[in-house]
Amino acid sequence: MSKSKRVGFKLDMTPMVDVGFLLLTFFMLSTTFKPQDVAEVSIPISHSAFKLPDVDVMTVTVDKEGSVYLGVDNQNLRGALFGPQYVLKAGVAVTLTELPELLRNARIRNPKLRTVIKADRDAEYKVIQGVMETLQKENITRFNLVTDMEK
């Protein structure tokens, strides 16, 4: 039989590729890679809409079992504080007795650090109370609690 007739069809992909590259550049520039979380924490819900600052954040994480972890968002500071093996980790497990000195050292290296407590909703209040008392003794009287926005 006769050959099937093919219709040549050309589509100009240039605009799509342009947009693709634009988006790629945008996402590449706006991405900051987060280190892996130290502990699984389910954040409590509240109505507060205050946003966490982008940089200079020091996080005290308390997980469900009541273990305390300290982390800072800056890699260099992390290395200087905890040692080079922790550069790529979000935080280090600490005890409440070590916490004051680490907080002090961190704040000497970067006085602009904001302290944030990220605790599991089911964590015992006693641990958080201990953390808050430590902060208070270190003269960090203004800090934030990480919460999720209520939907």
Binding site: V17, F50, R121, Q136, R142, N144, T147
Partner: protein, 169 residues
């Protein structure tokens, strides 16, 4: 992948009627590059988290500073581990906040806080949470304070005498 088209390489005439340019057309197949670009685009789109976490701000007085507050201006909230709320102003006997479950009690607490603060704008709220209570309990109470725009509050540890007062010890 890439080829050079020489078919139009002859006949460059600058002066004359027609203006033909000498051109070596280079054609590069961009498909693999575009493929990679879109792959990366997808990757970055999926890994980016745009929303920043929300936070709740707390201001506590410094540890070495003891503020003297008149008893009538001090409202104490005591939260037990099973989320019963006791409140009193000054030296009054603690009373519970009604409600069958946590949600109702929180709503009633909100109303109570609003009324009390309207009655006395100088009221300072002191929150004492039992050590065995959950963190979420404390956040819920603080949230209730924030919703009612009560910024003058402080946190204090629950001592045994507090427990005695509310009858849980």
């Amino acid at each position: 992948m890439a080829d050079v088209d020489l078919s139009q390489s002859k006949g460059k005439q600058k002066h004359g009627g027609k203006k033909k340019r000498k051109r070596i057309a280079v054609r590069v197949d961009m498909t693999p590059m575009v493929d990679v670009a879109f792959l990366l685009l997808t990757f970055f789109m999926l890994t980016t988290s745009m929303s920043k976490p929300q936070t709740m701000e707390i201001n506590l007085p410094p540890a070495d500073q003891n503020a003297e507050v008149a008893a009538s201006n001090l409202m104490t909230l005591r939260i037990t581990d099973d989320f019963r709320i006791f409140w009193n102003i000054g030296e009054e006997k603690p009373t519970t906040v009604d409600g069958a479950n946590k949600k109702e009690r929180l709503i009633n607490l909100g109303k109570l806080l609003k009324d009390r603060n309207r009655a006395n704008p100088k009221l300072i709220t002191l929150i004492k949470v039992d050590g065995k209570a959950k963190y979420i309990d404390m956040v819920d109470v603080m949230d209730e304070l924030n919703i009612n725009e009560i910024s003058r509050f402080s946190l204090a540890p629950m001592k045994d005498e507090d427990k005695k007062q509310i009858g849980t010890l």
